[in-house]
Amino acid sequence: MTDDRGNLSVDFLAGFTIFLLAFIWVIAMIPGLLIGLQAYTIDYDAVAYRTGVILAEDPGWPVAPAWESFGDPQKYNVTRFGLAISKDTPNILSQDKVNRFFNVSTTNPSVGFIYPDDYQKRAIFGDFPYRFRISLRDLDNYRTRTVGEQLPDDYGYIRRVVKIKGTSNATINKSYMTSHSYIKTDNATTHVFSILINNTKLLSEIRDPAYQIDPSREQLLITVADLSSICPGTAITLNNVKIYKLDSGIYSNVPLPASNNPFVDGSSTRLPSSWPGIPAPVNNNVTIKFNPQYIDSMKAQNSQIFIAMRFDVSPACTFLNNTQAVPDYNNLVGKDTFENLNTTPFDYNYHPDNVTQPKLRDAVLAVAVWSGETVAAPMTALFSDDFESATTPDDWTPQSGWSDPWYGTPHYGNSSVVLRDQPTYITKTIPTAGYADISVSFEMGTQLSGAVFATAEWSSDGGTTWNLLKQINNGDPEDNNALYPFAYQLPAGADNNPAFTLRFSLVNANAGDRAFIDNVIVGGNPY
């Protein structure tokens, strides 16, 4: 018998090859079979639609007390996000809800909501771990806020046009004080200025929540200004602020927690908890900003709230005083003090002379939903500077002394940075090692005259050559003393580059020319 082992293997190869060829051919047909199958995008679109509806048309849950009033330790009580002011006002969002919603942290549970877990449970819903990106662009304020990741190529999407309800505020300046006779001719050292927040009236005069001033849901901002000009040369201290509540005819003194202490002279931090034990010296103004939760905790819906501020001046002088001078501020009696012919508290109401009314601003809300791996990790800014520091722009390289922090108009937060009066620039090297798809965004605006212009540029070689991003010339639409947002996606030269540099310049400038820069953000995707 001949050996047939070789024979077998050649034959096996032939048979198996035919089988494999057919198999490969058949497998190659599967993608064609799946062409018609697009259920996944449809599903994403439906989820995005649902999330868009919840965010734009629903006030969230719980409603009272509102979910946004829950601090981070109690955030587990929040079951549903919703940004609308109330269920009767779809598409009109509350600024407080927006602020709380976009208060996002990637890791730290005590700072804000955590992406993605906290949001998946409360805004996206469903057991499936969808990934998403929710952004809100405030069209009137040129501001975009985002939670989520970089968009992949394919995602479900919905865009909603909404309005954001602004907050009301009142500034009591010298001309207002004079015209309302708040500056009394009593040459004394102790003065009491009182403010009335009549909740009953505020809630009943205008019933539409979209335009209502509701202190228990939105922040009130009251600034008593121009104090230094009332009697120049006198030293002013803010001795105390007392809160009285009038509820069904009964006055009660409500303690003011340190978390609601006033701000003095434009400071961004409240007076310390040692105040009022140690009275605070005041140069020019005092700002009162109560958290809505504080007002809400007073159960103030049907009550009137009196804020009595005690100023001490030295030497004695004719100062801000609209409250019957009571010998003993420490033991104020509500009825005697506020129901007194000599007391005319400042009324926080719907009169536009008194209070700047809440205004609705246009905004765009976009929701994108997808699943699976995204190219980028949760968006991490490589670099950002909001120029809030007092010595701004300290970590930039100022070309000369002509770049300063700017607290005037325009700025976001506390301050922007200004380039002024002569040709000058600031630069900053931001190594992009390990990152690709570099993007730059910033806000810029100018106040120019003559042949002056401001530029934003980037360099891939540490400043030898510069590439122009944006130039604002005298007379351009952006040359109107306001900040405008700009965003650019940079070419590959910016990727993975330790010498990546940004520069903002003011060219040909003379005295009075100004360029303002704020909120510089450089982002990228890790390799």
Partner: protein, 282 residues
């Protein structure tokens, strides 16, 4: 191998050729059985799948027509696969219409000229089934059975709160005769503004007469049973409307007259809207 051979006990009686023929025969018989029974079953499956898909496709087309008519969108197109048959558009003026609708008042005076809707019809070759999109409804008829079924309803309605009867008539037109098999794109557009007629109010005791004339007896396109069920379901609304039916019976090819008498306390409002949808291409 040698060791293996020696281990075999006895294979003398086994013929290699016969064994091969046995196996070969079994394979052939297997293939034969599959071809005889399995393949027709598969074809059957495919035919009913084609039909199901077309039912859904027709509903998609109906949605397009709804968008054109009720949302006044000027143009719509949908790509679809027409399997196992052909999709044909019959102009409203086609000579043997599958139905003619007349709406008359108490004294048989017409509110509108006799209305022939025209239709988009899918004719399945293998399943012996027609699915038609006519007058805003999707109706199905099997040739082997006498009746017909409405798969998706048109938007005719009676609103009892306002005592209003609304007929939305949709006329399908096309400039040429078109028919399509395989993958096609149905493009349709809304022609002009809808013609709208609100008749004088119909007082208590007076009636509207709706006359449905199907294609003559023996015609394959008789959908009167489906429409009969729909009309009864929609407009027989005691105590507001008392409905009587005369003529027919549905399915016999003879006209059926539905008399809707206003039994409500207030005057009844009749609204007739006619939309024209032009099929640009298939």
């Amino acid at each position: 191998m040698a060791a293996l051979v020696t281990m075999r006990i006895n294979d003398k009686g086994v013929s290699e050729a016969i064994g091969f023929m046995l196996i070969f025969g079994m394979v052939i018989v297997g293939i034969g059985l599959v071809t005889l029974y399995g393949y027709p079953l598969l074809l059957q499956q495919q035919v009913s799948a084609d039909e199901k898909i077309m039912e859904k496709n027709m509903i998609v087309l109906q949605n397009d027509i709804k968008s054109l008519a009720y949302k006044a969108v000027p143009f719509k197109e949908t790509s679809l696969k027409i399997g196992g048959g052909s999709l044909t558009v019959y102009d409203s003026s086609y000579s043997t219409p599958s139905s003619t609708i007349e709406i008359n008042d108490n004294g048989n005076n017409p509110y509108i000229p006799p209305f022939t809707p025209g239709e988009l019809r899918y004719e399945s070759m293998s399943a012996q089934t027609d699915i038609a999109l006519q007058n805003g409804a999707v109706v199905l008829r099997r040739h082997v059975e006498p009746g017909s079924v409405m798969l998706a309803e048109p938007r005719w309605f009676f609103d009892s709160a306002t005592n209003t009867v609304v007929f939305n008539l949709i006329k399908i037109t096309s400039d040429t005769i078109m028919s399509k098999e395989g993958i096609g794109t149905v493009q349709m557009r809304l022609v002009g503004e809808p013609s709208y007629s609100a008749a004088p109010p119909i007082p208590n005791g007076q009636a509207i007469k709706l006359v449905y004339t199907p294609t003559p007896s023996g015609g394959r396109q008789d959908y009167s049973v489906a429409w009969d069920n729909y009309i009864i379901k929609t407009f027989d609304n005691p105590p507001y409307i008392s409905m009587t039916k005369s003529g027919g019976p549905p399915g016999s090819g003879t006209p059926v007259t539905y008399t809707l008498t206003n039994n409500g306390s207030s005057d009844m409002t009749l609204v007739i809207k006619i939309f024209e949808v032009n099929i640009k291409s298939l």
